[in-house]
Amino acid sequence: MSAAEPLLRVEDLHVEFPTEDGLVHAVDGITYQVLPGRTLGIVGESGSGKTVSSLTTLGLTRRQGARISGRIMFGGQDLVTLPEDQLRAIRGNEIAMVFQDPLSSLHPLYKVGKQLIEAVRAHRDVSKAVARARAVELLGLVGIPDPANRVDQFPHEFSGGMRQRVMIAMALANEPKLLIADEPTTALDVTVQAQILALMERLQRELGMAIVIITHDLGVVAEMADDIAVMYAGRIVETASTTQVFGAPEHPYTWGLLRSIPRLDGSRHDDLVPIPGTPPSLINPPSGCHFHPRCPYAQPDHARIDPALQAVEDDPDHHVACLLDSRARKELWGRLSSGDTPEQALAAVGTTGEPA
C-alpha cells in the first residue's frame, strides 16, 4: 500500500443483529481501506462477516434492524451516519455492487434494457432515449454480442454468464469509483468464471475503478486481488499484499486455509490438512482470540487476551491479529510449508520462538 489517499476507509466497524436467540455479532470491529484503482480481496468462510460488512458500506443492513457502530469514510463522508437520501445518491452511482446470484438479482418480468435504463436514470437526469443508448453501450462494453437486440430480451433468455455480465453492466452504469463484487463467480462454471474475471480486470484497467472482491475461493483472490483481508468470525485476522498472504502468511487461520485446499499442480499423495472443528457461533463467540478453540498452537492465555491487528515486525503493510511470538510464527510457517503437520511443526518450534 502506498501513501495514496484511500478511497474507502472502514474504521472499527461493528454490526450486530438482535435475534430471538441473542445478539449476533456479525462484524466485530474491523478496519481496512481500499485505495483508488486497486483490488482488495476479502476472504473468509460463510458467517465470517465478509458480506455483512460490505452490505453495511452501502447502507443495506440498516433496514434489517442492525446495530452499527464505527465509521465508513468515503469521499469525506461517514456512510454509517449519512441520511438515507444522501446515501442513495452514492449507492449505485459512486459505489456499485454485483451480487452472487445473477438470476435472483434481475427482475424476471422486465426486459434487461428497462432494468439498465432504470439504473442510469436513477442517478442521471437524461431522456429515455439517451439512457437506452447508454444501456446498449454498456451491454457492448461487458461483451454481450448484438447488444442492440439483446437489450429487448428478458433475463431468462440470457445464460448464467450473460446474466452476470448484465449485472456488471448495471453496476457500471454510472461509472462507479468503487465496485463491490460479492462472490461474483461462485454460481458460474469454471470457463465462464474465467470470462467474468477477465472482464472485471479489463474494465478495471479501462475505467480505473477500485474493486472489493468478496469470496471464499483463494484461487480467485490470488489472481484478482492486490491486497487481501482474511476474515474469521467477524474479525479481520490478517491483511497484507497478495504476495505476502500467499508467500509469508502469519496467522494460523490463513495457514489452515492454505493447507486445506487441494492444488491443481500438487501431488496426489499429499494429504490435505483440515482445520479441526467448525466455525464458531456468532452469538457466543469464543473469548479472547476467536480462533483459539481451533488453533493447534493456542496457549491457555489466548482464551483471555484479545489480539489486536498489529503490523508485522519488518513490514508495515502486513497486519496480523495473533498472540504467538512473531519469530515462532515465521518458523512455524516455514515448517508447515515444507510439509510438516501442525503437530510436528509445534514440536520442533514451540510457541515462544526458542527451540524446544
Binding site: S46, S159, A194, G219, L257, R268, D271, L272
Partner: protein, 371 residues
C-alpha cells in the same frame, strides 16, 4: 463406545475413526476377481421435450448423455468432470438405476443391470450407494440420525434385532468420525460437514461395492471440505472401495481420483489417469478447463489467461460432429463433419479430437504441462 467388528462383511473397517491412514497403501480385501467392476457401453439418456397439455407430442429431446463408454476398475476412484449440463450427474444416476437408460448397456460385476427389475434390481441397489451434494436437503429433518443411517438395513430387511442395528449404526458413526453417543440427535443439531459424514455413513451401511459421490463437498466451506475429502480418501483406502467422484472443481478431482473422465455435452471427450490427464491434456476442452481454474498462486497474477469464449450450447440441439467445434480455437472444417473417436494419442490418455494439443500450445495457454 461400541464394540468393533459387529458383523462379518463390515469387520474390515475396524479401528478408530477419522484419523488419516498412511499414504500410498491400498489394502486389498480378499481375492479381487479379474476385470473391471463396471463397464459402460454406448450409454444414452434422452429426455423428451413435449408440447401440448392433454395430447403430448414429442417435439425433440435433450441429449443429456449421448453415447458414453468407460470402465470403472476395482478399487479405483474415477472422477467425472465437466461443466453444468455435460451429463455427469445423469450418468451417475443411470449407474445407480435412479434413471433408466434410453440405450446402451451397464455391466456391473459381470452382469448386465441396464434393464433389471424388482428383486434383482433391489439386490443391485445394495451394491451401489450414493452420497449427495446437499447435506441439508438429503437428510430427513424429522428422523434421528440413528434411524437415518439405519434405514438401509430396514429397507433391505437386515439386522432386524434392534440392539444389533444400533450397534452397527454406532460403529458406522465411529468409522466416519461422528460421536456414537449422538445416535438420537436430529440433523439440525449438526454442522454441514458433520451432516455430510452422516450421508457417508448411510452410504457405507450396506458395504457397497460401488460408491457414487455427486459433488460431495461443493456445499461445504473450505476448511470443512478438507475434512470430508480426507475422510473419503481414507475410507476408500481402508475399505478398498470403488468410487465414482463427480465434481466441477478440477483441483479437488486431481486430489481424489486415480482416473478422470472429462465430459462435454453428453460425451466423454478425454479419459485417462490423473497424472496423464493433468500432466499432458490432449483435448482442447480439457486444456481450456485447466487454464480456466483460478489457482492459489499469486505468481500467476496478471498473467494473461487464455479464456474460452462463448457458452455451452444447448444439449437439445448440440453442434454436429465434434460438439466442441463451435468454441474450439483449433477447429477446422473436418471437426463439424466427422465425429472424432475416443482414441490413444500417444501420451497416455484417450482423447476424442482430430487435432490434439501439443505441449507448445498448452504452454501458450498457460497450462503447466509435463510435470
Amino acid at each position: 463406545m461400541s464394540e468393533q467388528g459387529a458383523t462379518g462383511a463390515a469387520s474390515a473397517f475396524g479401528e478408530g475413526a477419522g484419523a488419516a491412514a498412511p499414504a500410498g497403501q491400498a489394502p486389498q480385501q480378499g481375492e479381487a476377481p479379474a476385470g473391471p467392476l463396471v463397464r459402460v457401453v454406448g450409454l444414452v439418456k434422452h429426455f423428451p421435450i413435449t408440447r401440448g397439455i392433454i395430447f403430448q407430442k414429442k417435439v425433440g429431446a435433450v441429449r443429456a448423455v449421448d453415447g458414453v463408454s468407460f470402465e470403472i476398475r476395482r478399487g479405483e476412484t474415477l472422477g467425472l468432470v465437466g461443466e453444468t449440463g455435460c451429463g455427469k450427474s445423469t450418468t451417475a444416476r443411470m449407474l445407480t438405476r435412479l434413471l433408466d437408460a434410453t440405450a446402451g448397456e451397464i455391466d456391473f460385476d459381470g452382469s448386465d443391470i441396464t434393464r433389471l427389475k424388482g428383486a434383482a434390481l433391489k439386490a443391485v441397489r445394495r451394491e451401489v450407494q450414493m452420497i449427495f451434494q446437499d447435506p441439508y436437503s438429503s437428510l430427513n429433518p424429522r428422523k434421528t440420525i440413528g434411524s437415518i443411517i439405519g434405514e438401509p438395513f430396514a429397507i433391505h430387511g437386515m439386522l432386524k434385532e434392534k440392539g444389533d442395528r444400533k450397534r452397527e449404526v454406532q460403529r458406522l458413526m465411529e468409522t466416519v468420525g461422528l460421536n456414537p453417543e449422538h445416535y438420537n440427535r436430529y440433523p439440525h443439531e449438526f454442522s454441514g460437514g458433520q451432516r455430510q459424514r452422516i450421508g457417508v455413513a448411510r452410504a457405507l451401511a450396506l458395504s457397497p461395492k460401488l460408491l457414487i459421490a455427486d459433488e460431495p463437498v461443493s456445499a461445504l466451506d473450505v476448511s470443512i471440505q478438507a475434512q470430508v475429502l480426507n475422510l473419503l480418501r481414507d475410507l476408500q483406502r481402508r475399505l478398498g472401495l470403488t468410487v465414482v467422484f463427480i465434481a466441477h472443481d478440477l483441483s479437488v478431482v486431481r486430489h481424489m481420483c486415480d482416473r478422470v473422465a472429462v465430459m462435454y455435452l453428453g460425451k466423454v471427450v478425454e479419459i485417462g489417469s490423473g497424472d496423464d490427464l493433468y500432466g499432458f491434456p490432449r483435448h482442447p476442452y480439457t486444456a481450456a478447463l485447466l487454464a480456466a481454474v483460478p489457482q492459489a498462486d499469486p505468481t500467476r497474477h496478471g498473467e494473461a489467461r487464455r479464456v474460452l469464449g462463448g457458452d455451452v450450447p444447448s444439449p437439445a440441439n448440440p453442434p454436429s460432429a465434434c460438439r466442441f467445434h463451435t468454441r474450439c480455437p483449433k477447429a477446422q472444417e473436418i471437426c463439424s463433419q466427422q465425429e472424432p473417436m475416443l482414441e490413444d494419442k500417444g501420451s497416455g490418455t484417450l482423447a476424442a479430437c482430430h487435432f490434439p494439443m501439443s505441449r507448445e500450445e498448452l504452454a501458450a495457454m498457460g497450462v503447466r504441462s509435463g510435470a
